[in-house]
Point group: C2
Chain length 381, copies 2
């Protein structure tokens, strides 16, 4: 298998981007990544997006983005795995280069969520239609059930959940591309509008527009270009049941655990080697479960671990230095690549006020639905 590196990154502001269409956003992020990588062509394009069909009536966006980048006839396609579509697009670009087929691949993610669609219906298409959605459940409801189970089983407190959000808003306040840059407090989170008990609006990632891109290259290309390259040393993906009720223990995100184990194995590293991570905090409880499954902390201890500051910028293992989905925003298809942009910029020492010190190995974890799919990548400078 050939080695693969990230040689350029780009992303739009995340937020309600009224002046930019789906294609505008993608092209903006792609051109930024291409400029950053200092390349003049690509061999292939992979676009992650969850449901541009339901959001804006446009499918076939692999070819569309190649077209609007002026890059036809370059091979292009879209990858979908709900909210981890972006991370899976990276995985496809990785295999394309690893196999020897391509030398330079553009991978990206995009979603336009604020353009009038029924967002709750569109997002619910990531859950099991027959066994969940038809019966009225929504994603805040599913994650609220996970939160209640975690509190019941492990004694996780309401304040510990809120600590995830407070930490991520603090980080996001240092990120010019974040949707929400206001610092918040534990009290504010707990007393915000209730969405699905115990989760309030400040436990929940927002509805966002945005795009993010990364340029991948083989090591032959890296040597020729002499740009700062960050190696992709591990990729892992896994799945679980779509419906929560089919799982033995809903506090366990088995797809996250399995995808992390596969990535650690390929990379030849352990959780303790990870210097920083971007993880999928679609709701505060998600970050707590995920850091447990990634092995950053013992199962059930994610709450106190977060409350004690271990996942803060200066902590033992900084999680979501970008502000995460909660503060940076969550245009679903773009999220997995935005995580990569953050980790690569951190490893290259270009994260400005939110720079994590001395990190040499970073990890991204991106998941779909209530954890029915997960993809983990490990990067090394």
């Amino acid at each position: 298998m050939r080695e693969v590196a990230v040689i350029g990154c780009g992303m739009t502001q995340f937020g309600e981007l009224w002046s930019l269409s789906l294609r505008d956003m993608f092209v903006k992020a792609a051109l930024e990544a291409i400029d950053d990588a200092k390349i003049d062509h690509i061999d292939s394009l992979y676009v992650g997006a969850m449901t541009p069909g339901l959001f804006v009536g446009q499918e076939h966006i692999g070819a569309l983005m190649a077209d609007y980048l002026g890059m036809s006839p370059v091979p292009a396609l879209r990858v979908e795995s709900a909210c981890c579509s972006g991370g899976m697009a990276l995985r496809m670009g990785f295999f394309d280069i690893a196999s020897g087929n391509s030398d330079i691949v553009l991978v990206g993610g995009v979603e336009k969520m604020t353009d009038g669609a029924d967002v709750t219906y569109a997002l619910a298409s990531a859950a099991d239609q027959d066994y969940e959605v038809y019966h009225g459940v929504t994603f805040p409801g599913l994650y609220a059930m996970i939160a209640r189970a975690h509190m019941h089983t492990y004694g996780t407190t309401r304040e510990q959940l809120a600590a995830v959000s407070v930490k991520n808003h603090h980080n996001g306040s240092l990120n010019p591309k974040a949707q929400f840059r206001a610092k918040i407090t534990i009290d504010k989170v707990i007393n915000a509008t209730m969405v699905a008990d115990p989760l309030t609006i400040l436990d929940s990632s927002p509805v966002s527009d945005g795009a993010a891109c990364a340029v991948l290259a083989s090591m032959d290309v890296v040597k020729k270009l002499s740009v700062p390259a960050v190696k992709v040393i591990g990729t892992g993906a896994a799945t679980d049941t779509l419906a929560l009720d089919k799982r033995k223990d809903i506090t366990v995100l088995n797809a996250v655990k399995q995808s992390a184990e596969a990535a650690y194995k390929m990379a030849g590293v352990k959780p303790a080697d990870i210097g920083l991570a971007e993880v999928h905090d679609c709701f505060t409880i998600a970050e707590i479960c995920v850091i447990e499954e990634l092995g950053f902390v013992e199962k059930g201890k994610g709450g106190p671990f977060t409350e004690q500051g271990n996942t803060a910028l200066e902590g033992k293992i900084p999680d979501n230095p970008s502000g995460g989905l909660k503060s940076k925003g969550h245009p679903v298809g773009a999220t997995g690549i935005a995580q990569v942009v953050e980790v690569v910029e951190q490893l290259r020492g270009r994260a400005d006020k939110r720079q994590v010190k001395n990190a040499k190995i970073g990890l991204t974890q991106n998941m779909g639905g209530s954890g029915a799919s997960s993809v983990v990548h490990i990067f090394k400078i």
Copy 2:
């Protein structure tokens, strides 16, 4: 790059399958393919589907199908490139094995189109929303414009277009899994209900439900299993503008030409080496343009070439022995893999009454929209 082979195939009947849901169909085709391949596990799953979100409100179908096959936590994702989602799923499975990451990969395609959705709206999401769909154009309209341009430029006749449909219905009459098994005549095609002048309903592929799957394996696995294996010796993909009006000449399907050239180059074969092909006849004019771009006949001569019987079962280069999209049916995401099923069964000599004689090399060509994306694979027994 490691070599990859197809070691098993399965597909459902194509048609209006009222008793089978999206997941039922996929599982049925997948189990048939797994039985055929005589394997007891897979390493990864790729599902092609165009827009299950718009058709039945369900995205995240990579993980869903892994779940319903009882195969979680196997890595799984969905691939989308409009009507060539299936062919692109095969391409992803190919890279996965070629890179050395997986040894056995299940690739499949599925679409449930007859379950109450606005099919014309859903299919139009493959065209350019901003420059085509918003202004009222539909796919029959786009292909009718291509047909008129081809007739004007090359003298292609109405009868020659109809000859594609007559040939494909003849082949489909020999295929137990085809949606329409009635033989038709040139007169019937020309005098059928007009859809978009000059194309009638009998120039047009139908709205269908169905699924198709194939099992891919590395040569190490092939040697151990001793099942009849068909090598994938070439893969090529390419794109073009989504909107027809952006092309210099709308009779030219550049993505088809470029994807074929890439596949021929990788396979080290020429058009004259191809013993049979399954091509994307969503409308009769599409097959004529495609066989020209594939190099089976000179540009502009596809009409007379078809009329003279060169693409018939006993012709110089049999096209669509399965009945093609026109007669076999066109559940969009499934089509690309159904083409693979036919070519593999033909090369293994298991195509019964529609068996093409002495074919050693077969080709599949699958495209999205009005040719904005295309993927070609070449197979050898």
